[in-house]
Amino acid sequence: MTRPQEVDTAQIRARYPDVFDRPASARLAMPAMIVAALAILVYGLVDLDFSPSRFFAGLSQLGWISVMMIPPDPGSSLPVYLKALGETLSIALLGTTLAAVFALPVSLLAARNIVPNILRFPVRRFLDSIRGVDTLIWALVWINVVGLGPFAGVLAIAVSDFGAFGKLFSEAIEGADQKQVEGIRASGGSALHEIRFGLMPQVLPVIAGQVLYFIESNTRSATIIGIVGAGGIGLQLAEQIRVLEWQKVSFLILMILVAVAAIDFISGKLRFAIIGRRAVA
């Protein structure tokens, strides 16, 4: 049996100076970052009133709650919950459609290849600030305007998605092939013709895919806007949590999970049917 060759550390050191003699700054960067991250974490835990006793008391409480959640049981209010679930799905569908309808023309104004930068910039910032405000906040604002109920939820989803769609659509338009537009222009088409026949056939499948994807993700958002009073199953959920009806709570959560999974499945199928097996950006 051959013994491994004696390792001459000094020689290796001399041969690979980069590995052994890294400057102190490079060697210390990683530990320094970890220490800083931990320091902020500890500061945060202290500042946010974390204490082990509170934590464990809460955990045991949570354990009790979980025990009381079993088995999930809707009691006698199953029809109400089903109606609320329908309401949630309606909110998601209507809100997303409304947002898409309004976002399409605006996204043209935010696309680099359609309008000059001077017009594009304010439109972009406008869309950005709409997106910066959470759906729940929009729901609160709309409740002030049209009153409590699912309609406020529809409008909240519509407004906050309007911002997201404006951005996504305009990116799809910017990514479109310019040759077809030039072809239309060469045959004497007007600016509107260029958009209708040159751009739209290219971007519509992408947009349809995104809209479907948003309907899917808005089913989730629509479940929570009820918490502030904008209709749907979230309203029931928040109420049952507040009156500590844990069996109903767990039933509602299960319902939401099942509904979201079903919508995921359906819209996945539809998406592939519309745009083919291609990833949605």
Binding site: G44, R54, L62, F151
Partner: protein, 294 residues
């Protein structure tokens, strides 16, 4: 200038046109069918969601005037004419914003640590056993599908009002979301280093530590930063259910019609989200170069 366009004889043109319209007609019918189904779904949804256009039209003025009102001070002037009066509570609001950021930071970091611990069990190529993978995956799925604010509602009851509930809710939701993304990175990792390390007789743990982790840390950090960005938005509404942060102030201002406060707090939130977006974008670019951006 004369324009020359070749025109086919009438007969030839007629057959071509007929073939074309036949080809198009089928697609048109399908499109029409889809549109009708969609319209019917919309109509049904409109009934379900109690859409009332009359309410919208009578109150739409309210929506516009709402923005008018939140941009007006009590004295009747526009807010930007007297910034000191508008942002009168900036000390309190900055403190609450700081709390919001801390909530999302602690929540994201905790979530990332848990996701890090769990993702090797959820990934196809590194999981020690199939049933463990199944259990961990379902667990992560549950944590990410239940909205964070629902967790917050329950935690507020279990842990009491305050930021702790918000942190835990965000941590759980982030564990679910990051666990999935992390395990996808692991699934894309090169398995040759693992084989190399296993051939030296190393345990599963050392295989993960020395073969997988060096490959994936950059991706992990990038996703965690992205999650932090999302969590800042999320944390800004945690206060709606009493789980700490600036949302508490906002909901009070909205419900009690302190109009100029609403606009001030909204401005603060939007600016913070902008800064965090730009900051993390810059950090990601600095740390991982352009290709790691997702």
């Amino acid at each position: 200038m004369t324009i020359a366009v070749s025109i086919l004889p009438e007969q030839q043109l007629a057959t071509l046109n007929a073939a074309y319209s036949q080809a198009v007609a089928r697609r048109r019918w399908r499109l029409l069918f889809g549109a009708v189904v969609f319209a019917a779904a919309l109509l049904l949804a409109a009934v379900g969601a109690e859409v009332n256009l009359r309410t919208l039209f009578t109150h739409f003025g309210n929506f516009v005037s709402y923005f008018d009102r939140i941009l007006t001070l009590d004295s009747g002037q526009r807010v930007w004419t007297d910034v000191g009066e508008w942002l009168w509570g900036w000390r309190k609001w900055l403190k609450m914003l700081g709390e919001t950021l801390l909530i999302s930071y602690v929540g994201t970091l905790t979530g990332a640590v848990f996701a890090f611990g769990l993702n090797f069990f959820a990934a196809e190529n590194t999981s020690p056993s199939p049933w463990l993978r199944f259990v961990v995956r379902r667990l992560l799925e549950f944590a990410r599908t239940v909205p964070g604010i629902v967790f917050a509602l329950i935690f507020v009851i279990a842990f009491g009002l305050g930021p702790m509930a918000g942190v835990l809710a965000i941590a759980i939701h982030s564990t679910g979301a990051l666990g999935k993304l992390f395990s996808e990175i692991v699934e894309n990792a090169d398995m040759k280093p693992v084989e190399g390390i296993r051939s030296t007789g190393a345990s599963w743990l050392s295989c993960m530590r020395f073969a997988i982790v060096p490959q994936v840390t950059a991706g992990y950090a990038s996703y965690a930063l992205l999650r932090f960005e999302i969590n800042v938005r999320e944390a800004s509404v945690m206060g709606f259910v009493g789980a700490g942060g600036i949302g508490q102030e906002l909901v009070v201002a909205i419900r009690k019609f302190y109009y100029s406060d609403v606009s001030a707090i909204l401005l603060a939130i939007i600016v913070t989200v902008f800064i965090i977006d730009i900051g993390t974008g810059w950090l990601r670019g600095r740390l991982f170069g352009k290709e790691a951006r997702t």
